[in-house]
């Protein structure tokens, strides 16, 4: 170890704190100016810590499951009644779905429709959340090693939870639909009005860019519109919860504040994400990307 003179050591001690305060400010400004600057560092740290977070979050998940199970036992009778009733309804729906599937198959054959891309799923566990920060993201224990890619949809059985924004080898970050930076092209089922679901860190994101003529009512279902080409159309997102003086808010179908597992869905559309486009030598303008930017910033 290097021996420092007492004066030098005192000087170092006095200046370290102000220097690091300044360094923090510089890092904040740099990160704000160019968000991609820290992306690779984020991915590296996420990958490095993912196994430890995975292990550490297991007991908490186990406690969560235990609580859910205890609640389940208490409400078993009621739940059973509800499920029996629901099952009867679902059997009727199954019947209808089978008939429609057969009819659909026939019609597709008649039209020689191009088959839809194959869908693959990866189920991952949430290993970290945003810890009180003004962001709504979660970290999951799967990454590019498992075939995940940026832009893929993260869902639960209830509906859309968010999309992948950073994908490391072993861990990936999901930007939830309630985050301030989340913009999802959606439409209101029934009226088929297109809009953008914009998160604002509150529990209920807002619908933006609705046509002035839109007729909406509380309880209408909101689904992805498929515009932008990142998500396929028709994924359930939520229902309209309030319509106040122009601000339309949507209650997400998914309980986003206590996510346990997420299903990452690859519809074979991830290639639709815009890539850096070279400047065209002929027009001197940037060529049009394959699709619009799904982030719609």
């Amino acid at each position: 170890m290097i021996r420092l003179s007492p004066q030098l050591r005192a000087l170092l001690q006095r200046t370290t704190l102000p220097f690091l305060v300044l360094a923090s400010m510089v890092v904040i400004i740099l990160g704000k100016a160019d968000q991609s600057l820290l992306d690779s560092l984020r991915r590296t740290v996420g990958d490095a810590v993912a196994p430890a977070l995975d292990t550490a979050s297991r007991p908490l998940a186990a406690v969560g499951n235990l609580v859910d199970r205890a609640r389940g036992v208490v409400a078993m009778y009621q739940e059973n009644l509800r499920l029996t009733e629901e099952n009867e309804k679902l059997l009727q729906w199954q019947d209808a779905a089978l008939r429609l599937a057969a009819e659909n198959e026939q019609l597709r054959g008649l039209l020689r429709l191009v088959p839809e891309p194959a869908i693959s799923y990866v189920t991952a566990r949430v290993i970290a959340n945003s810890g009180g920060a003004y962001v709504r993201t979660v970290l999951i224990n799967a990454g590019s090693n498992d075939g995940l890619a940026r832009g893929q949809a993260a869902m639960t059985g209830e509906g859309l939870a968010g999309r992948l924004t950073e994908v490391g080898a072993r861990a990936a970050r999901v930007l939830l639909i309630t985050d301030l930076n989340s913009r999802i092209p959606v439409m209101v089922e029934g009226s088929r009005e297109g809009a953008v679901l914009a998160g604002d860190n509150s529990e209920r994101p807002r619908l933006q860019y609705l046509p002035a003529s839109a007729t909406l009512k509380i309880g209408d279902r909101v689904v992805t519109s498929g515009e932008g080409g990142v998500f396929p159309p028709g994924l359930p997102v939520g229902i309209i919860a309030s319509v106040d003086s122009g601000a339309v808010r949507v209650e997400p179908s998914v309980e986003l504040s206590q996510l346990g597992y997420l299903r990452i869905v690859n519809y074979g559309l991830a290639d639709a994400l815009p890539k850096p486009v070279p400047v065209s030598p002929h027009t001197g303008r940037r060529g049009k990307p394959a699709t619009d930017d799904p982030e719609l910033h």
Binding site: T16, L17, L20, V21, A23, S24, M25, V26, V27, I28, G31, K32, L38, L41, R42, V45, G46, V49, A52, L53, A56, S57, L60, A61, V63, G64, V67, D68, V126, I127, A128, N129, S130, G131, G132, A133, Y134, V135, R136, T137, V138, L139, E166, R173, L180, D200, N201, S202, E255, S257, Q258, L259, G260
Partner: protein, 176 residues
């Protein structure tokens, strides 16, 4: 100024490596603990500021064992993992250290309610700064209520955190 510093009791020398690393280790644990998913509805936005708690405790009792560089690294680490703007936590932890160091003589060897009151004021200031900083970074008036709740939870849980840190400190270093 120099007189005031010398009026504080000198920190006893710690030769045990485990004890020397304990303040940094507990602060890292606090950072990891604050991002672990707890299956309670709405918890993520209201997570108590565990890291601030550890930083306050060690800045009062063993500032030599939790240097500014460690606070900077732990803050940046927490932001990277939480998906938050990097540097915000580091900045707040460092500013908290600066403030606590300048008033440290009032807290050493004082009764717990006095230390708790100090932490309440620090938490209020730190989380207000946290909110203001995020408002500037996102250029939007963000909801302050969740941060106000966080502050209340953080202050409420401080006695437990302080008890655990104090106990392990006495066990490892022999002094309070």
């Amino acid at each position: 100024m120099a007189l005031k510093v010398f009026s504080l009791p000198a920190l006893p020398r710690v030769d045990n490596t485990a004890a020397r690393l304990w303040p940094i280790a507990t602060t890292v644990l606090a950072a990891v603990g604050s991002i672990l998913p707890v299956h309670i509805a709405g918890y993520a936005a209201l997570t108590p500021a565990f890291t601030l708690m550890a930083a306050y405790h060690w800045t009062i009792y063993r500032p030599d064992l939790l240097p500014p560089a460690a606070l900077f690294a732990i803050g940046a680490f927490q932001d990277l993992l939480a998906g938050a703007p990097v540097g915000v936590s580091a900045l707040l932890l460092l500013l908290a250290r600066g403030v606590v160091m300048s008033y440290r003589r009032y807290f050493v060897n004082r009764l717990f309610p006095f230390v708790w009151t100090g932490f309440t004021i620090l938490t209020g200031g730190a989380l207000l700064a946290f909110w203001a900083l995020h408002c500037v970074l996102d250029w939007a008036l963000l909801d302050f209520r969740s941060t106000a709740f966080r502050a209340v939870l953080t202050v409420a849980i401080f006695p437990l955190g302080s008890f655990l840190l104090g106990r392990t400190q006495r066990a490892l270093m022999g002094t309070a």
